[in-house]
């Protein structure tokens, strides 16, 4: 047990942690935009599965992985449009319609896999791209700069989302619409248009989260391969206090715990594997119970907007 946690293992865990945060980042940052505008999309899980399948199937048919990513973004946007129609225009209960979308994505992606592919085969997704120079730095290099390109883009999303949310007119509208849609409306902001935009954007990113699994991290598609990851991404938005940095820290915390748990299994640590697998989920519950500052929650979250008395 003592030599289980040597330097190489620690670097390995950190490397996996950085890597495994990728789908969380795409999905949670996307979900954060929706929630900041007042829409809770619990359909992330299903969208991720559809995105993952779309990207996988593209590459399976011989397309470039980038085309696979594009397909994932498109299918994600399309499912976002569906979610927006149901929850923004038709004002359905958001929690329920999101669960519906999740189950729909799960069922459809499994069906498509059986019909179009049969039994899953590995594909050649994005290769690892060691960033020249940076990847040579001891310890830091192997942890941060030894990944495929989708991993790097995921981390770039953090400063980009900060900029969009706090420095652009679009971001200002998003924040206003999620807190006080009536006030935004009175100033000529089109509340529902903003919500459509964030839900579609968020869902496209959820599709990309799926792609980051199927053509980035794992290079395969399997039935229900997300295995609750999309729901954790929703939880991460709460955990991160609806802020990009908070979401980043949350994603890293969860991915590192997952990585730790995987490495412990691989190294044959004397921990019951079932218990180890439960770790990230237990952490989700504890973090949500202890860590969430309700006070920061967008005031109009889950509330459809209708004008006037």
């Amino acid at each position: 047990m003592d030599n289980l946690l040597n330097t190489a293992t620690l670097i390995g865990i950190a490397h996996s942690g950085v890597r495994l945060a990728t789908p969380y980042l795409y999905a949670a940052i996307g979900e954060m935009f929706g929630q900041r505008s007042g829409v809770l999309n619990l359909g992330v899980e299903g969208v991720m599965l559809m995105g993952a399948f779309a990207a996988y199937y593209g590459v399976f048919l011989g397309a470039d992985p980038w085309l696979g990513v594009l397909a994932a973004l498109l299918i994600g946007a399309l499912m976002g449009l569906l979610m927006a129609v149901i929850s923004v225009t038709m004002q359905a209960e958001q929690g329920i319609s999101g669960i519906g979308l999740s189950l729909f994505g799960l069922g459809l992606s499994s069906l498509l896999l059986k019909v179009l592919v049969g039994s899953p085969i590995s594909i050649q997704g994005f290769p690892v791209w060691q960033i020249p120079g940076l990847s040579q730095i001891p310890i830091v290099g192997p942890i941060f700069f030894d990944h495929d390109v989708l991993v790097y883009i995921a981390y770039l999303l953090v400063p980009i989302s900060l900029f969009v949310l706090y420095r652009t007119t679009f971001g200002l509208k998003v924040r206003a619409v999620g807190q006080n849609p009536e006030a935004a409306d009175s100033l000529g902001v089109r509340v529902n248009a903003v919500r459509y935009a964030t839900v579609i954007l968020g869902s496209a990113l959820a599709g990309m989260a799926g792609a980051s699994l199927s053509v980035g991290l794992l290079n395969i598609f399997q039935e229900n391969m997300t295995n609750g990851l999309g729901f954790i991404a929703v939880a991460l938005v709460y955990f991160g206090g609806w802020r990009p940095i908070g979401v980043l820290l949350g994603a890293l915390l969860f991915s590192t715990v997952s990585a730790f748990q995987l490495w412990m299994q691989v190294l044959g640590a004397p921990i019951p594997p079932d218990l180890a697998v439960m770790l990230p989920y237990i952490l989700t519950i504890v973090a949500l119970a202890v860590g969430v500052k309700q006070i920061r929650q967008p005031a109009a979250l889950t509330k459809p907007y209708e004008r006037g008395e």
Binding site: T168, A184, G188
Partner: protein, 510 residues
């Protein structure tokens, strides 16, 4: 920049008609305002003032009639459209996003000089310029949630001016202000008027309307009663136009001999929903046969005060006594049985069950006592009998006792709550904002009933943000500010000015 000053010389609304399902909200209303004029729009709640103005601001569209700006007929599609034409509106409930800064609130919905990227530095500079020009002092970098009510209103005015408003609609702007803050607002409004702005001032407070406006239009039941110049009108004339009959503005109010202490708060502290101190060391005594008024600007602990007495909010310190007994640990039901009656501020949410029938709501406090129930079972005949009795005794206008309560008007719902609470002959009555949003007729009725309770020896705590109401009814007036009782003043020594200073947190120096 889209915020250079426009000018509106005249705006006319001609024979405007607006229908909602089952209601004719505006019936051929004609109204006009000129640049450099303050035109007051007076009327009771539900008279159609807000509906008329919402059409001017593009939130509703008239079913018939015409709007003309400087003689040109226009169609105002949306608030954006109204803003583009130089029309701004200060809503009664502020349209501000609390989490955003002042500058962000002002910039929201406006094009930025840097395209998609915000130009908050430029917005801030322009806010500074506007606030200097009109005496609207506010820090552009401050998040709105940190601002006091008066400051928020200034932000609203700046927002409109920033958008180049030449005509400003102010919907009940003084409802949330202390008398002194209202005076400051009036100074700003007069300055804007001198500057050529057209101002529409919506109100139901006669005193203010007479104080500030050049012309006054009165609406009643969706119709224009008349438009009169301010010179030569009296408050009594305006009140008659508003209500359609003579109204008692001052109430005969005999001094009564007060009895024993029925309700006492001793050093009471409590927290609000967000965990901040809402009541700090509050000590009050209310005697039998007395109305103790609690005056204060909204949000200074009034709600929490009512809730700790009703038993709906835990105490953080001190004690509450009913009839000499310490009831601090008693649940609400036990306090009710001990003779406490409670008219809650949020009547739709806390006062009734909206889906229940009128008769059911009338027995909500007695459902577990005979004759309304025996053992496990409700006695429907007794419920119906009680319903009929109270509906007629309290003049509740409802199609039947089985009507769902939510479909009643605000005034009648309040009468229903009053009937339920007062029919139990309470020893102590806590009435929170009993006439807010209620028309003058029902208000008169509620006031009468409260005075009746007083004559019968009930101890009444009247919490109200309407200073006129407090001055009309209370024997003594406690002023609450930031959860503290600033002072308790006998009514004879109370003036609006003195109370106003206390409401603003200014303690008197002897």
């Amino acid at each position: 920049m889209s915020n250079e000053r426009r000018k509106i010389n005249s705006l006319e609304m001609i024979k405007i008609t607006k229908r909602f399902p089952g209601v004719l909200a505006n019936d051929q209303v004609t109204f006009d305002v000129k640049g450099g004029e303050i035109h007051a729009l007076l009327g009771e709640n539900g008279a159609g003032k807000s509906t008329l103005m919402r059409q001017l601001y593009g939130l509703y569209h008239p079913d018939a009639g015409e709007i003309r700006i400087d003689g040109q007929a226009v169609t105002i599609q949306s608030p954006t459209d109204a803003i583009a034409r130089g029309i701004g509106m200060i809503h009664q409930h502020f349209m501000l996003v609390d989490e955003l800064t002042v500058a962000e609130n002002v910039a929201l919905g406006m094009p930025s000089s840097r395209g998609p990227v915000l130009d908050l530095d430029r917005v801030e500079a322009r806010i500074q310029a506007l606030s200097q020009a009109y005496g609207l002092h506010v820090n552009p970098k401050a998040p709105v949630w940190t601002l006091a009510v008066g400051e928020r209103q200034r932000v609203e005015i700046i927002k409109a001016l920033y958008r180049g408003a030449a005509l400003l609609i102010l919907d009940e702007p003084t409802a949330v202000l202390t008398p002194q803050e209202a005076d400051d607002l009036f100074v700003t409004l007069k300055q804007m008027k001198e500057d050529g702005h057209a101002l529409i001032f919506i109100s139901h407070k006669l005193r203010e309307v007479v104080a500030i406006s050049d012309r006054i239009s009165v609406l009643r039941g969706g119709r224009l009663v008349d438009t009169v110049p301010n010179q030569g009108v009296t408050r009594a004339m305006l009140a008659r136009m508003m209500v359609g009959r003579d109204v008692l503005l001052e109430r005969a109010h005999k001094a009564l001999e007060t009895g024993v202490v029925r309700l006492a708060l001793r050093g009471v502290s409590a927290l609000n929903v967000t965990g901040q101190a809402a009541l700090r060391n509050v000590t009050l005594e209310v005697h039998a046969g007395e109305i103790l008024g609690v005056a204060g600007v909204s949000g200074n602990g009034q709600r929490e005060l009512a809730e700790v007495i009703a038993g709906l909010r835990p105490l953080a310190g001190g004690s509450v006594e009913l009839d000499g007994r310490n009831v601090s640990a008693w649940p609400p039901g036990k306090r009710t049985d001990a003779g406490l009656a409670y008219i809650p501020e949020e009547r739709m949410h806390d006062g009734i069950v909206q889906e229940f029938s009128v008769a059911q709501n009338l027995v909500l406090q007695d459902y577990d006592h005979p004759p309304i129930s025996r053992g496990l079972f409700l006695n429907f005949n007794a419920i119906a009998a009680r319903g009929r009795e109270l509906v007629s005794a309290f003049n509740i206008r409802t199609p039947s006792i089985d009507t769902p309560t939510r479909s009643l008007s605000g005034g009648n719902i309040q009468k229903l709550i009053l009937a339920r609470e007062l029919s139990r002959n309470p020893k102590v009555l806590v009435a929170a904002q009993p006439t807010r949003g209620v028309d003058i007729g029902a208000t008169e009725y509620i006031h009468q009933r409260l005075l009746e309770q007083r004559a019968q020896g009930a101890a009444t705590l009247l919490i109200s943000e309407d200073l006129d109401e407090i001055l009309a009814l209370a024997d003594r007036i406690a002023v609450i500010y930031e959860g503290r009782i600033m002072d308790i003043v006998p009514r004879k020594q109370a003036t609006a000015e003195r109370l106003g200073l206390l409401m603003a947190g200014v303690a008197e120096k002897e």
